[in-house]
């Protein structure tokens, strides 16, 4: 039996909701290289072909592929000491979406589902958890289908079920008939699934009221330069619009970082549009007064090896890698933790996946020790023993 969404205080969620905090996850699918972003090792055998550039944070350098980020480091908290436990893609993606390693017995909720539960609005026309170009769907797990993600295509288009080609009065009649049939079924079967289905259907219908939010064309020309002319830039603009409309969690994906071959060529193509859009998003949120309440999380599921293989690539690595946070009370201009001279291991202040999730929840005003129950087993939203990295939070 799933008691996951029952054993929680509604008043606690109400209190958190008042803070109006939001989160955007920039998901670098495949595992972006720390050596080609925030933890360069110039002059070392592991250093690779790019060169570091100075930043607006004295004494801190980043990769030359991040010129815009380099001038916005005062807004970022970079963690150079991630040490996580799942080195393959499925395991890593699950881990870095839920905070937990995948198990056969428990379906853990994604971060977006947790945020949706505590920061979402009950009767919003917009979903509370939206993924633009999703790469994984562990979903709401034991929190239940109410907190499932709503997924958009790589172009940010709504799924076909979210739009209707019928005239509104015809659609209303059809919905009335469907509701009648569903009511009869629910009375006779007393099934939870019927209630969940009705909620999902009603959510889809309410999307009709807000479908214009998803069409960024009216804003794209004026924002093209800010976000960069790329698919990822368009996704980030859409994320800003959704956040502005009150969606508490939006995940924006960029694919193809799994650079076992041609690591340098690949990062050379992937990073410039990504960093352009990322800085555009930070700037836009800041200008609209939203950055103070919006947490931007930047990460992939794994890092990449110090060793460069004979395919000019880097393989999977989780002993030492990098992530970054911005906004929502995160200290800007901070580099937390350090790796050793070759980037082979964490030298100072290791941060586990649990610590990272605890810090994110804390920044969003959600107590990381909040427990849900899977059967009789209490499960905190950040794993037992996780510690908030207090130095990162203002």
């Amino acid at each position: 039996m799933n008691w996951g969404s029952l054993f929680n205080s509604a008043s606690a969620a109400d209190e958190v909701q008042k803070q109006q905090k939001r989160c955007i996850l920039l998901w670098m699918n495949g595992g972006v290289s720390q050596f080609e972003t925030f933890d360069m090792k110039p002059g070392r055998p592991t250093g690779g072909q790019f060169r570091p550039v100075s930043t607006n944070l004295p004494g801190t350098q980043v990769c030359e592929l991040l010129p815009k980020i380099s001038q916005n480091m005062d807004k970022l908290a970079v963690i150079r000491s991630m040490r996580t436990s799942q080195v393959d893609h499925p395991g890593g993606i699950h881990l870095m979406h839920t905070g937990y390693a995948s198990t056969a017995n428990i379906r853990f909720p994604e971060m977006g589902a947790v945020v949706s539960k505590y920061l979402g609005q009950e009767r919003s026309d917009l979903p509370n958890f939206i993924k633009v170009f999703p790469h994984f769907n562990s979903g709401a797990g034991f929190l239940g289908p109410k907190y499932l993600p709503f997924s958009l295509s790589p172009e940010g288009r709504l799924p076909t079920f979210a739009t209707s080609s019928m005239k509104s009065h015809i659609e209303a009649r059809r919905n009335g008939l469907r509701s009648f049939v569903e009511d009869v079924y629910a009375r006779e079967h007393k099934a939870e699934i019927a209630r969940a289905h009705r909620e999902a259907y009603q959510s889809a219908r309410r999307l009709q009221n807000v479908h214009k939010v998803f069409n960024i064309d009216d804003e794209w020309d004026s924002n093209r330069e800010l976000y960069g002319d790329s698919a990822f830039g368009r996704r980030c603009l859409l994320a800003r619009r959704l956040i502005e409309e009150g969606v508490p969690f939006v995940e924006v994906g960029q694919s193809s970082y799994d650079s076992h071959a041609d690591n340098f060529v690949w990062h050379r193509s992937l990073l410039p549009p990504m960093e352009h859009a990322w800085v555009g998003l930070i700037t836009d949120l800041e200008q609209r007064g939203l950055l103070d309440n919006t947490l931007i999380v930047w990460m992939g599921e794994i890092g990449r090896t110090p060793r460069i293989n004979n395919r000019s690539g880097r393989d999977h690595y989780v002993r030492s890698w990098s992530t970054a946070l911005a906004g929502c009370g995160v200290k800007g201009g901070l580099v937390y933790g350090a790796s050793d001279e070759d980037g082979a291991d964490v030298k100072d202040d290791p941060v586990t996946e649990g610590d990272f999730f605890a810090t994110i929840y804390q920044a969003l005003g959600i107590d990381p020790e909040t427990e849900h129950y899977n059967g009789v087993r209490p499960i905190p939203i950040a794993p037992f023993g996780s510690e908030v990295v207090e130095d990162i939070l203002a």
Binding site: R51, F133, P154, G253, D262, V265, L270, N310, R311
Partner: protein, 403 residues
């Protein structure tokens, strides 16, 4: 041209960072560059010596037919990042290097040395062999002297680029150079005057990955490419012929060959139109000696990397030749235009007949696990007898291919 009858003559040790490029300086000397920006010059005028050179380790797996090793005589100093290409004039007097340090450097082969240095070119071998020694002997073994070389500085540094210089070509006369960078800028240089003759840019989302000048230096073949920006954002590549004098586009080969090619579209669907033909980028190009054909190699990690031969004037595909497992690294026509050579990610250099595409020889053999070591840059000696190739495992191979 005599019959192809390859025999490896030299196997020059150049361990450390990957050797990427190679060029002959006349028939008796060869230069090679690596990913650290080092360039060394070897003198090959003497007959191959038996066994390893003094001060260098003998490779454990060395076989009699692999060629001999000699130490280099000179190191060319100045680059601060990887060497992407080396080219030389036919008389061997000038060597030109392109680098990821944003510069092109010109080296005079008869220049006086500027100093001396002790260099270690068997680092990988030493590290492997040191593991068989007692712990207290290892560091001493690793730190023992290498070989003495002269050092030399560049005669000129060409600074027209602001990013990685990925591509470099030279006209047959040796009067003009072409270089292209990762920001899509192309520059044609007067090599003697060491100044820009012409400059243009490709699409801003691409980098210039290959460039070559026609034998008379009047036209240029330029390949633009970038890896995808994600699975649903794939900028279109370019393969165009340009007039050097006015930097005007003369021919768009991809539009000739692929009627539905849309160079402004970045969607998955648009990319499916060109993906099979381009594979991991057309990353190497060369003009035939008479300028009638161009050879274009499919790079990246692909199933089978091949070489397309096009008519230079019309862009018509003549035939596709060769076949490297996992992609082509470099391509060169022989001086008589009868053969086209390609190096690849399968540790081989393949020699194919231009007339019918038949492969007549494969130099080297696959080395590695599932993914093989790359045979990177290649060069043909001015007397059209020798072929050299940069092997990422830390060697420069030199074969006598034609008697």
């Amino acid at each position: 041209m005599p019959e192809v009858n390859p025999k490896q003559v030299w196997k020059l040790q150049f361990e450390g960072a990957w050797p990427t490029s190679v060029a002959f300086l006349g028939p008796g000397r060869v230069a090679a560059g690596n990913r650290d920006g080092q360039i060394f010059v070897w003198d090959l005028t003497d007959q191959p010596a038996a066994g390893p050179a003094e001060g260098e380790s003998d490779a454990k797996d060395k076989k009699d037919d692999e060629g001999a090793n000699v130490p280099p005589v000179r190191r060319l100093d100045g680059h601060t990042n990887g060497i992407s290409h080396l080219v030389s004039t036919n008389d061997g007097k000038l060597l030109v290097s392109a680098s990821l340090d944003h510069t092109v450097r010109i080296w005079e082969s008869d220049a006086s040395a500027t100093g001396n240095a002790d260099v270690v070119l068997d680092r990988t071998t030493r590290e492997r062999e040191s593991k068989r020694l007692p712990q207290d002997k290892r560091q001493e073994f690793l730190d023992r002297p290498g070989v003495a070389v002269e050092t030399q500085d560049a005669a000129a540094v060409l600074k027209g680029h602001a990013d990685w210089v990925n591509s470099l070509g030279i006209s047959r006369s040796g009067q003009r150079l072409i270089s292209g960078d990762a920001r899509s800028n192309v520059i044609v240089w007067d090599l003697e005057e060491r100044k820009e003759l012409s400059r243009w840019a490709g699409h801003s989302w691409n980098g210039i990955v290959a460039a070559a000048l026609s034998p008379d230096g009047q036209t240029a073949l330029v390949s633009e490419y970038t890896y995808k920006r994600d699975d649903f954002d794939l900028p279109a590549p370019g393969l165009k012929v340009w007039n050097v004098a006015d930097a005007a586009q003369k021919l768009d080969i991809l539009k000739v060959h692929i009627p539905k090619f849309d160079d402004q579209a970045t969607t998955y669907g648009a990319a499916s139109v060109w993906r099979k033909f381009i594979k991991g980028g057309l990353i190497t190009v060369d003009y035939s000696p008479d300028g009638s054909l161009v050879a274009v190699g499919q790079g990246g990690e692909t199933d089978t990397g091949q070489v397309h031969l096009f008519e230079a004037e019309t862009g018509k595909l003549v035939r596709t030749v060769s076949g490297h497992k996992y992609g082509v690294c470099d391509v060169r026509f022989t001086t008589d235009g009868k053969h086209v050579l390609s190096s690849g990610r399968d540790t081989t250099v393949r020699i194919c007949q231009v007339a019918d595409g038949k492969e007549v020889a494969a130099l080297g053999k696959g080395r590695g696990g599932q993914f093989k070591d790359w045979m990177h840059g290649i060069a043909i000696s001015p007397d059209a007898k020798m072929v050299a190739a940069a092997d990422i495992a830390g060697f420069v191979h030199v074969w006598q291919v034609w008697a």
